[in-house]
Symmetry: C2
DNA sequence: ATGAAAGCGCTAACAG
DNA sequence: CTGTTAGCGCTTTCAT
């Protein structure tokens, strides 16, 4: 396997200068149609591919956006997809750097810095604000899906509070009065969602019924929270749940259904059967009374859309968010005047199978 | 925000030549301790970071490995993690390129080619063998988790057939006689796993009971397959299932449990309750008879390890596979003598909650 | 141990 | 329209 062909190789073979080849390859103006034709033919024949690194090295502007994402998070997958699309549209490349169990955020960012990215897009970063601020002093930093209050850091996030208000409104409209929230702890967005939940409950005069159960952002966190909920012996025992995110909601659903608590939706066949037949356990009591538990998630990740999950959820508008994030990063690079540091995208309620009026 | 510091900036500030700074930054021999100290101090002070692109451009060898992965696949996340570790250990960098709903494999590979990666590591690629072969003519290509029979393509994969044999052995040992397989269609590894399943059944003299249900690699595929299975009125009605992968198994589990079919494991509390109370539907009949369905997945992705899933599964040894993949890529680059094109890693049965002896 | 100089593959002025 | 030239930031001889 010999050396890859270079611009010079193509130039020699085509009998022109390297500059001309460069022009043709970049589809820049300044070459005759005939030359273009010939150069392209030779390039194809040689299997020539421009060396991006050399190109970027030479260019003052690298047109490279660094992206840090969590390899575990389904929603990050959706965001990465959107980022590719958005970057592509305006001729930017993406450099991906993953946060994995064995590779922390710090390293992910650090490697991107070496790649000469012009700006950084961080998906739900864990790093403290101070660190992000330090980073932003070196190059434009756009944080997605997390609130960061600092004047040098751009933020694109969903209106988490509004999302939870929509969720609560939906449930109240269905007739629910006792609605609990399984929260995300210190996860990005969790505080805002808690706030939205509490606010909405008060607005509906249900402040007394507020109940926040510690959760988290993984399925296991949801499972734990659901188990805790099942232990609850309390007049405020809820008929509906708003859950921090879809992953967590999945865990909740599994445990609830596993414990015989009816959850509306695709599985209702089973639920009905359970409702017909009494049993001795607490959760069966619940079933016996004909009660059911409605569940609302957050994100509208692919997870929620699965037919067997069919989760009512608050959709984050990944397409818009990624579009804004890329646009903002580029605006900073161009020194264009920009508006607010923080861009808040409205969420959207997606009603699926897991919500229904309370039984009884 | 002014220009990032370069080698030259550091050199001037430290009062030495750029060559010396280069030596210090690379920790190469040829500089006094005092100089090292001073240069490093200045570099830190300036926040200097070597430009990877320029470095790679100059170096003949880029020490860059391109990785194509599917942003949707949890198991690819595990592999990426392992690849980072393996590459890191031998001083290679990784360039990640994602396959997303809006970005196909072709583009993912193409962008890596421009990045001057020295070799490509493809995780479960969909591309036809011919295309991969063409690629391998240009640079070393290591395919992970898919069988490709071509003399120029390196392959690191799990012994899929052996994995399914282990799964079947485990179930037979528990006493199951009617074991069905939900397969992965044309997904990487699916054919081998089917073969392993069929072979193992024959070995146990259960060939007559073989039943292969069309599935796929997503949760939805599993859900569909499970529904099809529930419709089954057949003497061969199984008491246990081997499923193409963990994702698919998750869908299967949800539908089975939703239909009231007892599956062993964390959820058994509910299952027992159901078993006590008869109902009219087919699946309830199944429950009434005290039957249960054991389920075995494949991959041992994080999904299987979730407490509420607790899936018995065939573990792919991601750490070993990634280690081998990187080692092989580098061996090709070094022109080192290598062994077989195909390296097959043994899988390992991980018994968790979803398998138990057949009821009755 | 240190420095000068060449050049990796490409683009951007400028000259013709 | 085409060619020449000068670097981008770094590594690597080869001198000193």
């Amino acid at each position: 396997m010999d050396r890859r062909p270079t611009l010079a190789d193509v130039a020699v073979r085509a009998g022109v200068s390297t500059a001309l080849v460069s022009i043709v390859m970049r589809e820049a103006p300044g070459a005759s149609a005939a030359t273009r034709e010939r150069v392209r033919a030779v390039a194809d024949e040689l299997g020539y591919r421009p060396d991006l690194r050399a190109r970027l090295l030479r260019r003052s502007r690298s047109r490279l956006l660094g992206v840090v994402f969590g390899v575990q998070h389904p929603f990050h997958g959706d965001l990465v997809d959107g980022l590719y699309t958005a970057a592509d549209r305006i001729g930017y490349e993406l450099a991906l750097s993953a946060v994995t169990p064995g590779r922390d955020e710090q390293r992910a960012i650090s490697s991107l810095l070496q790649d000469r990215c012009e700006a950084l897009v961080l998906l739900g970063p864990q790093a403290p604000t101070a660190y992000l601020a330090g980073l932003a002093a070196r190059l434009p930093v756009v944080v997605v899906a997390r609130a960061v209050r600092h004047r040098t850091v751009d933020v694109v996030r969903t209106d988490d509070a509004a999302g939870l208000e929509q969720a609560v409104d939906h449930l109240v409209e269905l007739g629910h009065r006792r609605i609990a929230h399984i929260d995300g702890g210190r996860a990005p967005g969790a505080a805002e969602r808690r706030r939205g939940y509490t606010g909405a409950l008060h607005r509906h005069g249900l402040g007394r019924n507020a109940l926040i159960v510690p959760g988290g952002l993984t399925e296991d966190d949801g499972a734990d929270a659901a188990r805790a909920l099942l232990e609850l012996t309390d007049p405020r025992e809820p008929t509906a749940l708003t859950v921090f995110n879809d992953r967590c909601a999945t865990g909740v659903l599994d445990v609830l259904r596993g414990a015989g608590v009816a959850v509306p939706g695709a599985m209702s066949e089973r639920s009905e059967r359970i409702n017909q037949h009494s049993a001795s356990s607490r959760s069966a009591d619940r079933a016996q009374r004909g009660s059911a538990m409605s569940v609302v998630g957050f994100d509208d990740s692919r997870l929620a859309r699965l037919s067997h999950v069919d989760l009512t959820t608050i959709a984050q508008d990944a397409a818009t968010m990624t579009e804004l994030a890329v646009a903002r990063a580029v605006a900073r690079l161009d020194g264009a005047p920009t508006g607010e540091r923080e861009q808040v995208v409205p969420p959207r309620l997606v009603v699926r199978g897991t919500t229904a009026p309370p039984a009884g």
